[in-house]
Amino acid sequence: MPVITVLEAIRDAMREEMRKDERVFVMGEDIGARGGVFLATDGFLSEFGEERVIDTPLAESSIAGIALGSAMSGLRPIAEIEFADFIWPTINQIVGEASKVRYGTEGKLQAPMVLRAPQGGGVRGALYHSQSVEALFAHTPGLKVVTPSTPYDAKGLLKASIRDDDPVIFLEHKRTYRLVKGEVPEEEYTIPIGKADIKKSGDDLSIITYGLMVHHCLEAAQLAASKNISVEVLDLRTVRPLDVESIIGTVEKTGKVLIVYEDNQALGIGSEVSALISEHAFEYLDAPVVRLGGPEVPAMPFSPPLENMFMIDTEKISTAINKLAEY
């Protein structure tokens, strides 16, 4: 089976869907002639032409708004926000409007659009090229928010997102773009949105996580195995809707759960996961539910030691695993 990077998987997914369905088109800054600043749409302009590969002005709010209008009119836009740090102007069109299209028209209109953006840190991106943005979108019913961690998942989920009839926010961790490689079958496949995946099975302790953190958790799990701590790693893959069944399942299995996420800890995805666990799996808990999330600073600083303080790494996860296993 071919081994490709996350970025290549994303590119393949979009290309395949654009070939399959002429309603699909891409729009965003620099996605045409340049092929995207991360080359996510490399080659698209020459293959699909200017009409379906639109270089937009520097105007994020209208990138989302125009995509929304075209989605409501029957096309399937994939709008790119160059960096998730610039996604905030789209909150009005996405959280304010797109999420409510179906509900506010009693189902007469729908908004089958994808808004994708590279997010996350560990790339010396500082305050404005490192942010995680999933929490604000995930809070909104009517939206779907996807956060893949592997090439296999990224491709399958992006295809599913493009085919989905609801607005999907597709957040790709930029550090995984070239640093995470994996097997991806050449045959056609999709992965259902809203289903988590056990990346590693274990008995003593569960880690629930998503995005880049999945890989650090797997590393930490390996270290734990040498200490005879058997760690299960559940990759959420989608943060809205959450796969409640899988979350409860892993807690019922091990009784101890650590939720790891790069985004600021307070009021992030882990907070909701923790609440669900205490509501639905209370009698299976053998320890308090622990979150390991980003610190209480607004965003990730630039200088390496400062960035490292913000980022969660394998060592920090290992420490948390050991503490929880001991309890």
Binding site: D204, G255, K256, E283, Y284, L285, D286, A287, E326, Y327
Partner: protein, 428 residues
């Protein structure tokens, strides 16, 4: 029809009546302006909701009226009842409001796009107190597992922080204990010593461990006493002889003495319920069902399959049930339900040649009985010497639950039942 001041989408709770635009006795069309109303947000003319004649002005110019309050009465063609609740005017009694306040029922909330209205003060949130978690508290998982598996957590050793009993400790405890016998596993691994030339070590199988634990528990927890009676089983032997072959031909199985004994034991337990019980600090628990476990030597060690509701079977029935259980036991094919819920145990030590035993009570039962070997002996019967088949039955019992008297009563009951077996004794 009574006209009330309507709720016009504002945060206001009341309005001031201005100039009346119609007089008493005037004809009023639907939507005709009736009266001017002045509020914080808008000054408006109130349109009439109905067609009719203005019969009465209730609120006069200059009056302050709360939203929902009555202002006029219009006589309409139909004398329909107007759907006004006259008690919509809420009297806010100052002394009852308190810091929580009251919800004003007859006023509108803020209008959809209108601003205004009092800004509510947020009550300061109390600091969540972070209490020290006492490590002796059991976690939800531990409690659940203990309850589901009938485990006394006092018996479990904790390996968590500060000796906390963890879920894993409980599951390990469950896995090591046998099916019906609740026992304690304190598995302390002794330091592996260097192997000596003059001795050999047999590693402990899980079953061996389990049996050992059960025995320790029985020996340490139950103060046991013992008694033995001799039973003349000549009648039983003859009866069995007479039906042995026809039974085999008919049922395909061998009928042994055990079904006869089990029947006698079951009957005797019914009459002596203390022997079918379990000790607890809260009281002696008398078991309603008579579930007799039969000790069987299985390849890995002793197992005790259980005949549930043994009292409901005939001797032939017991033979069938026991044949099934014992075969399964010997082949290691018993399932969990077949070894659970025993209330009394019977051990045929006689099969091994023993004529007297002191069995250990099967915790948490209260008694155990053995049937010893049947031996032909000379006894005195009616002042003459007779050769009779004699079988000792040995009873060990929990002396907390019963005294010698009850135990003996049981033994004598069994003895009597067995000695009265004759050619008429029903098999089916």
């Amino acid at each position: 029809m009574k006209i009330e001041l309507p709720q016009v989408g504002e945060s206001v709770t009341e309005g001031v009546i201005g100039r009346w635009l119609k007089n008493v006795g005037d004809k009023v069309e639907k939507y005709d302006p009736l009266v001017e109303v002045i509020t914080d947000k808008v000054n408006m003319e109130l349109p009439s909701p109905v067609e009719g004649v203005l019969r009465e002005i209730i609120a006069n110019e200059g009056d302050t009226v709360p939203m929902g309050g009555l202002i006029a009465d219009i006589e309409t063609k139909e004398s329909e009842n107007s759907p006004i609740n006259s008690d919509t005017h809420s009297n806010l009694q100052e002394e009852n409001i308190g810091t929580t306040g009251v919800l004003i029922k007859d006023a509108a909330p803020v209008g959809p796009t209108g601003s205004g209205g009092p800004i509510s003060q947020d009550k300061p949130q109390p600091d969540p107190s972070i209490k020290d978690r006492p490590k002796s508290r059991y976690s939800p998982a531990v409690l659940r597992l203990a309850e589901e598996n009938n485990i006394d957590l006092e018996q479990v050793v904790g390996t968590g922080i500060n000796g906390r009993i963890t879920r894993k400790d409980v599951t390990a405890f469950i896995e090591s204990k046998p099916n019906t016998l609740e026992s304690q596993t304190i598995v302390k691994e002794t330091a592996a010593s260097t192997p000596r030339q003059d001795q050999e070590k047999i590693t402990l199988s899980p079953i061996r461990r389990m049996i050992a634990a059960n025995m320790v528990k029985s020996a340490t927890l139950i103060p046991q006493a013992w008694s033995e009676v001799a039973v003349d089983v000549t009648g039983m032997v003859l009866r069995r002889e007479s039906i042995k072959e026809s039974f085999m031909a008919k049922e395909g199985i061998n009928i042994t003495y055990l079904p006869f004994v089990v029947k006698a034991v079951a009957e005797s337990l019914k009459k002596n319920p203390l022997l079918n019980s379990s000790w607890s600090e809260e009281g002696i628990i008398l078991k309603k069902n008579i579930n007799i476990g039969i000790a069987v030597a299985a390849p890995d060690g002793l197992v005790v399959p259980v005949i549930h509701n043994a009292d409901l079977f005939s001797i032939a029935g017991l033979a069938g049930v026991m044949e099934n259980l014992i075969t399964k036991a010997k082949n290691g094919k018993l399932d969990l339900s077949e070894v659970q819920s025993g209330t009394f145990t019977l051990n045929n030590t006689g099969a091994l040649g023993s004529v007297s035993s002191r069995p250990l009570v099967n915790h948490p039962q209260s008694a155990i009985m053995t049937t010893e070997a049947i031996v032909k002996r000379p006894i005195i019967a009616a002042d003459a010497i007779a050769i009779r088949s004699m079988m000792n039955i040995c009873l060990s019992f929990d002396h907390r639950v019963m005294d010698g008297a009850e135990a003996s009563a049981f033994s004598m009951s069994v003895k009597n039942l067995l000695e009265n077996i004759n050619s008429e004794t029903q098999i089916y």
